[in-house]
């Protein structure tokens, strides 16, 4: 054949041969380019019939796609049938696939291109029928090219019956055994090839690329066929991410109705895995880097600039809500991490980020996890980021607070944990270190756990003063550092304890929450285990401001974003009966720094409402008028769009609500993370408000 000229093609060298025929490299003497020419073998011609093949080749030649080998021409003479096609310089997938499989990202990259090629063909009603690793080429540029679309031996009923009938005769090494390995169960049963049988074949191919071996083995055709029909697909190796495993398993469902129905669906699934894997890749280590979690069957939020995001942690998972800034209609997403308590979360919108942080607590440890796409994908770190040092002898039990650092330290984050300790990150959460000065405090041996354990639950960095910060521990009280965390002093003067003979000890108070307003950071409010207090000197002294409240017991406290004299609380009857007094659900507000309090109950149940609002389950947003939000232990979520004057039930029936925070998404679509950006000048703010107001929402 070599040296022969057929029409205007000069046959140069043989490239390969197989059951279908032989392929040659040839020179197109008219267009001066090299092409590949496949001559179909006489048995093939006899089996399928020249006319049928011509029809199929014509259909296949109608496909024009970057991942499909282009067919230039199909010729039939009295002696020969040949196909002139694009010459692809590269290697076939079965040559590339080494023992142990290809890297996950390569499997995804190739898989997406093959699925895209299939989707293009399926949209034009072309079924490949013989997708296998030797039919997929990877060019030297890394582009996938699928060969032999529709040109496979016609797998309509006739020949197929023959295959199934003669399967016992197939010896090892038969070409058909190779082809057989990719055949869907229904094909082996003699049914016609469909889109779903192509999807099965792609499932086999994905498995082969990921594992380095075929899912269904056998030394003879009968063994392979029997494995395909009867055995479940084996497990993929441990390095294959669960998302890819799930996709392969779905492709390899024995019932075609349970597979992806369209190649486009499969492509989308692979693309989602790819984008998540890119988002979670650590530059220094791709194999053991951060892994990613997806939540299937969960509605996700579609957010836009200007929306209000509500982050709701419950004892059984995380929920997210969004509304436009009118805050009338709320969309719900979640539960994320269903079954796991989410006691702490934060939204970091500094430096152009829009990163959600949560602390995920389970029997398997407590992990900080983050999402940069509003919950669609989450990091799943192989190791906990927050660990007590070995010499401390302590082990992390829970993370109770995630707090953003000051505006001038946009990469700083803090975590308050149990057993009581403070951790700090100065690289946007990549690495964490324990604040030694607090852990080694001489009072520590005498700190007594509260009902919630010995937890550091409140962190108040003082704005514009990197040296000063307050923290609160149950039941050790308030501590302040004035030297950046090296030394800490108890700051509980004036705060009463009820569980010890000495009513005003230096420390040992069971503080439930502290809030401070960035416009007046030296003024703070404190909800104690009995007692509501104010300090005007950054905690040096505290004064009882519980005038006129139905009870001064309570957990939650939130400050107004634009008014340093305004604070919200939800009084609870007593430490014994931890419910709202008189069965009335009332938020109380002061607008004069605690001189007087007013109940805010319009729209809230005032009969048989024995509710509890926990420490971090009350919050405000930064809009004007401010929105106020709280959740209850009974799973109700309420919100007010008018500073608490009127309330609406946002949802009922959540698990116990333990955490609520609001964020206004005013920086979406801004510059990428890492670029400093200015706040939106159009954002409405009250006269009192300043850029500091945004900090209040972050630092609470």
């Amino acid at each position: 054949m070599t040296g022969r000229t057929l029409d205007h093609y000069e046959i140069l060298t043989e490239i390969g041969s197989g059951g279908m025929g032989t392929v040659y490299r040839a020179r197109d003497q008219v267009l001066h380019r090299d092409v590949a020419i496949k001559f179909l073998s006489p048995p093939m011609l006899e089996k399928a019939g020249g006319e049928h093949l011509l029809l199929e080749a014509r259909t296949a030649s109608s496909l024009s796609h970057p991942n499909i080998c282009t067919i230039h021409e199909v010729r039939e003479t009295s002696e020969e049938f040949y196909v002139v096609m694009e010459l692809i310089e590269g290697r076939s997938l079965n040559e590339l696939n080494t023992q142990g499989g290809l890297p996950n990202e390569t499997v995804l990259r190739y898989g997406i291109q093959i699925a895209d090629a299939l989707a293009h063909a399926h949209d034009r009603s072309v079924v490949h029928r013989d997708l296998k690793s030797s039919n997929v080429m990877v060019t030297t540029e890394g582009r996938v090219k699928v060969l032999d679309f529709g040109l496979a031996m016609s797998l309509d009923k006739g020949p197929l019956d023959q295959i199934t009938r003669t399967i016992v005769d197939l010896g090892s090494g038969s070409e058909l055994v190779g082809t057989l390995s990719y055949m869907a169960p229904e094909i082996l049963r003699g049914e016609t090839a469909t889109f779903q049988s192509d999807i099965w074949a792609l499932g086999v191919l994905l498995f082969e690329m990921a594992a380095g071996s075929l899912p269904f083995h056998g030394s003879t055709g009968i063994e392979v066929g029997s494995a395909i029909l009867q055995q479940p697909a084996p497990s993929l190796p441990a390095h294959v991410p669960p998302g890819l495993t799930a996709v392969v398993q779905r492709c390899l469902a024995k019932e075609s109705a349970l597979r992806f129905q369209r190649a486009g669906e499969l492509r989308s699934a692979l693309e989602a895995l790819q984008s998540a894997s890119i988002a979670s890749r650590e530059p220094q280590d791709s194999h053991f880097g951060l892994r990613t979690i997806f939540f299937r069957g969960v509605n996700h939020l579609a957010v836009k600039n200007g929306d209000v995001l509500l982050i709701v942690g419950t004892t059984k998972g995380l929920f997210l809500f969004r509304a436009s800034r009118e805050r009338k209609r709320w969309d719900k997403a979640g539960p994320y991490f269903h079954g796991h308590p989410i006691y702490a979360a934060a939204f970091d919108d500094r430096e152009g980020r829009h990163r959600l942080w949560i602390a995920n607590n389970s029997f398997w440890g407590t992990y900080l996890q983050s999402s940069d796409d509003f919950g669609r994908t989450w990091t799943n770190p192989p190791e906990a980021a927050i660990k007590f040092p070995a010499d401390s002898g302590a082990s992390l039990k829970n993370i109770w607070q995630i707090c953003l650092g000051r505006a001038e330290q946009p990469d700083t984050l803090y975590c308050g944990v149990e057993p009581a300790a403070l951790f700090q990150s100065t690289d946007a959460g990549e690495s964490w270190a324990m604040v030694r000065g607090l852990f080694d405090h001489p009072h520590r041996p005498r700190w007594v756990p509260g009902n919630g354990g010995l937890c550091l639950h409140t962190i108040v960095p003082i704005p514009k003063n990197e040296q000063q910060m307050l923290i609160a521990i149950s039941a050790a009280g308030v501590y302040r550092t004035d030297d950046g965390g090296r030394n800490w002093q108890a700051r509980n003067s004036g705060v009463r304890v009820v569980h010890a003979p000495e009513k005003f000890p230096e420390f040992g108070q069971c503080v439930h929450k502290i809030v401070a307003h960035p416009d007046r950071p030296e003024r703070m409010f404190l909800q104690n285990h009995w007692g509501v207090y104010r300090s005007d000197d950054a905690g040096d002294s505290w004064h009882d401001v519980a005038h006129g409240l139905p009870s001064d017991f309570g957990f939650a406290m939130a400050s107004h974003p634009h008014d340093p004299d305004c604070v919200y609380i939800v009084p609870i009857e007593s430490d014994e009966f931890r419910c709202t007094p008189e069965g009335k659900l009332r938020v109380y507000r002061t607008r004069n720094a605690g001189a007087s309090w007013e109940p805010m109950s319009r729209g809230l149940p005032q009969k048989n409402a024995y509710e509890t609002v926990l420490r971090d389950a009350l919050t405000t947003d930064s809009l004007d008028p401010t929105g106020v939000y709280f959740g209850t232990r009974s799973g109700k979520l309420y919100h007010s769009r008018d500073e608490g004057k009127t309330w609406t039930e946002l949802i009922d029936g959540l698990p116990q609500v333990v955490f609520v925070r609001a964020a206004v998404l005013d920086q979406l679509g801004g510059p990428p993370a890492g670029k400093r950006i200015r706040s939106d000048p159009k954002r409405p703010v009250r006269k009192k408000a300043s850029t500091k107001s945004r900090k209040s929402r972050r630092e609470r």
């Binding site: 497990s235 053991f288 004892t315 660990k387």
Partner: protein, 98 residues
């Protein structure tokens, strides 16, 4: 001699979705066996042991049918062809309310 590990549902993300993993290992103790498992399932050890190297409070590890807490803890010897089952304890899990 192979050691067979049975992985619970919540940890399948770290075992490539496999609930049964067989490794050629000759570990002396459960601690060494878990380290061997961790070498092919990164992230799994952190879920089983605390940062101080102790078994997490609500995680149970069985060698055969025996829970290692009733044997020698993580120093429990691992016999040839052992089956090691990792499960989440039924008890506990209630976190305090505030």
């Amino acid at each position: 001699m192979p050691v067979t590990f049975y992985i619970p549902g919540p940890l399948l993300a770290f075992s490539g979705g496999q609930c049964r993993i067989e490794i050629e290992l000759s570990p002396g103790t459960v601690r060494e066996a878990l380290a061997g498992l961790s070498s092919i399932c990164p992230g799994i050890l952190d879920r089983i042991l605390t940062e101080q190297g102790e078994l997490r409070e609500h995680v149970n590890v069985f060698v055969g049918n025996e829970e290692v807490r009733y044997l020698k803890g993580l120093a429990t010897p691992v016999p040839a062809n052992a089956e090691i089952t990792i499960v989440q304890a039924v008890s506990g899990g209630l976190l305090p309310e505030h």
